[in-house]
Amino acid sequence: MNRDELERKIAEASDGDLAPAALAELEKELANWPDLKQDFAAIMNLADLQQAYPVEDKVQFSSQINAIQRQIRELNHPKEEFSELSLHIFKKYALAASILIIAGSSALFLSDNAMVNTTEAAAAEEVFVYQTEGAASDNYMLQIENLLLDQNSDEY
């Protein structure tokens, strides 16, 4: 093994990734490399770095975590512009609006027809009343004429 290979083996050994047989072979090889053997011993005696950097509880980061989650929700549901919002509402309620418009138009049309009918009825009634009134007046005139004729006949 050359120097680079030995360094890599030392790194693997210190990571705990070397099998016992491979570790024994490395130690045997290092006998020929006194400086590397010294480095190997120093590296294997290093304190555990995990112990120096414990993972803190998530509770300690709650404000930072909440801030990130809030921003993510805003990104997910951005505040809509008024025009976009109006369009969105229009699209959403387009069917309901169409039905309302049709219903409204139909109602207006029907009420107009009803008005026409009422007017026609009124006109018919007016004609009928007029005719009745006319007939009464005719009778009245005839009665006057008859009276006048009677008076004249008496005079003669």
Binding site: D4, A47, F61, Q71
Partner: protein, 171 residues
């Protein structure tokens, strides 16, 4: 439709945030980069690109690579001006009335964190991903674009430097 839904992603944030915070704190140690700002940007960026997540890597690895890139950009913007008040050792400060044995342990932890923060970015990156995150060399290769053999050689150099710095500090 992407590999995961937006709702699922949102629900994962509380679980992923603390782990990412630890790793990016370690990665950004010694700089004045605000880790919370980096993570906020990370999650929002990931959310916007959620359709691009194909599930080939774990969600965490994908997020870590985004957070790492944002942190590197911040390093470049600030040209990595050291700000020792923001080292992890100070972040996890010791309470004044802790017993002596705890003080000793805490000193060891602080020395270790300081040693990590003094590593060159290139080496600290590997240490964080492999040792803290437990990513495989293949996954680190995916994130960094560096082949696994080079990564292992860097890991050797990183650990050698850590051991030398700790020895110098009498640990």
């Amino acid at each position: 439709m992407g590999y995961i839904s937006r709702n699922f992603f949102e629900r994962q944030i509380p679980e992923l945030y603390p782990r990412l915070h630890r790793s990016i704190s370690a990665f950004a140690a010694g700089s004045n980069v605000d880790v919370d700002d980096v993570l906020q940007e990370t999650f929002l960026k990931a959310f916007k690109k959620i359709d691009q997540f194909d599930g080939e890597s774990a969600l965490y690895t994908w997020l870590y690579s985004i957070a790492r890139n944002i942190t590197i950009d911040e390093f470049r913007k600030r040209k990595r001006k050291p700000d020792r008040s923001n080292t992890p050792a100070d972040e996890y400060g010791i309470a004044a009335d802790e017993p002596e044995s705890n003080e000793y342990e805490q000193k060891e932890i602080d020395d270790l964190r300081n040693a990590v923060s003094e590593l060159p970015d290139l080496l600290r990156d590997i240490v964080v991903m492999k040792t803290l995150e437990g990513l495989s060399y293949d996954e680190i290769s995916e994130v960094t674009g560096v082949n696994t053999e080079t990564l292992k050689n860097r890991m050797f150099r990183a650990k050698k430097e850590l051991a030398e710095r700790l020895k110098k500090n009498g640990v």
